[in-house]
Symmetry: none
Subunit: 421 residues, 2 copies
């Protein structure tokens, strides 16, 4: 079964937007046991859309289109689809109700231009857009010389609208129509070690992996994901195989593994705190509120996250976190002593079981010979103890902030687990 992806948008051709839709689709379809054969990017141009679609439907069994479904003049995919499928736009009641609901929720009336979004080609099955107003469209056409029909799906280019459609509708439909072979994935989430060092440590394990399992290193700032993919005929057998290899890997690098399958550290911490009926606060200097932000992206975090003080100025470290002026003068803001006082200060003041404090030189300026850019102190306070660790990250400000936050969350995670043992 061949899948072709067709991304429509001038912004992709002039490099204003990186085509993350295509890579996301490739990954998700792959995880579901399907393979993308070709990705084609074209302009918002009727003739281009029709010619690319003609070629794709000759080659592929499934064509997934994204882009050009917005309500504005530069969005012309729907007209091109009507020309290609020799059909016309008709008003769709369901699609309109979805649009109306979308605007009602925002206390807005549906404008003329948005009402037009409910007009879809007569020959398609609409796909609900949970996050926007443009419905998706599912078409089928005969291909000369082929037995089955070619399936064509048109979706919005806005990533979160497209993603929800693919997850909720497109992949389940494809699974029904095309029996795929068994594919089992497991992703091991590691923090605190770089890709090449990790690869050195697990080399022997990697070499002994059975041939049915392939391994991919997927690095992100501060994190390396290890993804095992097993494919074959018996899904249950593959699962047993992959779990056995996971156990072996955990025995080699227990200190770096924090979770599985794209779990987030802030999510894991949230679950641990809820389980223990516990609370957390943060005192942030170099991370500037980013740890608080990560913790509060989790729904329900208000039951364990009480609050933070972002103390960028030194006098705020003193007045709000009870850092002693002498400590600041003697050791400087980026020091073990200061970060320990910050963690103790916020924990007492905000009356939480745990606290995190950070202080570092995020860069690009502010480094010295003794404390170069990237120097970072992280402290963790618990009812039993308080400790700080020093790290030397890189010279990129945004990555330093992210790496500090993830390192701090992983330190806290280990402390919570230790405390409950």
């Amino acid at each position: 079964m061949k899948i072709e992806v067709l991304n429509i948008g001038n912004e992709l051709l002039i490099g204003q937007v990186v085509n993350t839709n295509a890579s996301w689709l490739g990954e998700e379809l792959n995880l579901a046991g399907f393979m993308v054969n070709r990705i084609v990017v074209i302009a918002d141009d009727g003739d281009e859309i029709i010619s690319a679609l003609s070629e794709a439907t000759l080659r592929a069994d499934v064509v997934l289109i994204s882009g050009g479904l917005g309500p504005t003049k530069d969005d012309i995919t729907k007209d091109a689809l009507c020309r290609f499928f020799n059909t016309r736009l008709i008003f769709n009641k369901e699609a309109y109700e979805n649009i109306e609901g979308f605007f009602r929720q925002r206390n807005l009336a549906v404008s003329v231009i948005n009402r037009k979004q409910a007009e879809i080609p007569e020959s398609c099955i609409p796909i609900q857009n949970r996050h926007g107003t443009a419905p998706g469209m599912w078409f089928e056409i005969e291909r000369p010389g082929s037995t089955g029909k070619v399936k064509i799906v048109s979706m919005p280019g806005v990533p979160f609208e497209m993603k929800a459609m693919v997850t909720d509708s497109v992949i389940p439909w494809l699974k029904k129509v095309f029996p795929s072979h068994a594919v089992v994935h497991k992703t091991i989430m590691t923090q605190g070690i770089g890709e090449s060092f990790l690869s050195d440590i697990i080399e022997e394990w990697e070499n002994q992996l059975p041939s049915s399992i392939s391994l991919a290193y997927l690095p992100q700032p501060g994190i390396v994901r290890l993804r095992m993919t097993a494919s074959g005929s018996d899904g249950k057998e593959l699962k047993t195989l992959i779990n056995r290899e996971t156990e072996k890997l955990l025995a080699i690098i227990p200190e770096y593994v924090y979770g599985f399958d794209d779990e987030k550290l802030e999510d894991i911490i949230g679950k641990l705190l809820i389980r223990d009926n516990s609370t957390i606060s943060t005192a942030e200097s170099c991370t500037g509120g980013y740890i608080a932000h990560l913790l509060t992206t989790i729904p329900g975090s208000s039951s364990y996250f009480r609050g933070s003080v972002v103390a960028y100025a030194n006098d705020i470290k003193e007045s709000e976190l009870n850092v002693r002026p002498e400590t600041l003068t003697r050791y400087g803001a980026v020091s073990e002593e200061v970060v320990l006082e910050m963690a103790a200060g916020i924990r007492t003041k905000f009356k939480t079981r745990y606290s995190i404090a950070t202080s570092g030189i995020a860069g690009p300026a502010g480094g010295t010979v003794e404390k170069p850019v990237g120097t970072t102190w992280i402290a963790i306070a618990t009812p039993e103890k308080i400790f700080a660790k020093k790290y030397l990250f890189g010279d990129n400000r945004e990555r330093n902030i992210r790496r500090t936050a993830l390192q701090a969350l992983n330190l806290l995670r280990k402390e919570i687990i230790r405390a409950s043992k």
Copy 2:
């Protein structure tokens, strides 16, 4: 003149690598006055390469290929090119000297596998690889029915090797062969209005745009970017034209435009605060530290950002921000009264010129009939005044946080500008 980009690599199709080569090429060629017409991504597969190349040479005047030139078994582009151009690999002395120099610099001898990289198709002109061992290749072939020859360039997929070749060799050659026309872009950044409402308001302006200017709507959560592209023969004239249209647009939607050409709100605010020698603090409930995070992503923000209190728990709103218990009981945490007291509280306590406060129901839980999920209050305090505004965002937690933050930053930006008038 039509350019087609052909990216070869399985890793692009399974989403393991995002295709930044294509977006980089699109941008660089565009800046040089050329346009990419199509991007095609295919697997490391001989037949696929030949069929994609056959199609591309029928459509385009220039085909830029990247990927599949490495020394390992999965790199098969060179063989496919030989088949397509009906030629054979021959040893190239210059290419070999480049490889030898590359290894000598690293105190290494040239291995057999790397010696093979000096073998290139007989009919091509080699392009030097400044950063690696695989040479680039320039081919030309006749196209039936066309007057000029089609140019095909094959380059490595490693981004910095490919980029150097394009900058040093490919673009200068293209400029010699094809007299390029001028292209001028301008992006107008808007906040606080959705794509369809914006389109309604500026419809008349959009309709009167000269035919040499095209307009694209590029929405992101909380932001809509409007990009004008002008192309023609005289770059200076196009610039004047685009600036004139920008002025007209600004007169129509002054309240929504916050900047140009991908400027960030947090960056603009930083520059305004530095100019005025001013300071800022935030008191965040629903945004959970995200505004502080955005502000502190900017290098040098420590000179104007003093700190934040993230007050998730109500008692912390009282103890740290001097919100009165009666206000909380009477109006609830998500109310005009509370958010005003939060903004006043942090401004006084942290001794800053400006402050921002937020309180809302980010979701997915916590909504009521009176205050549904998405209900959000934002307050701004300045030396002259304090005010709050209510918004009703959507039901997605992360987007609600982002939209609240961007809205708050834009409100503050307007206040700073108003104050300095």
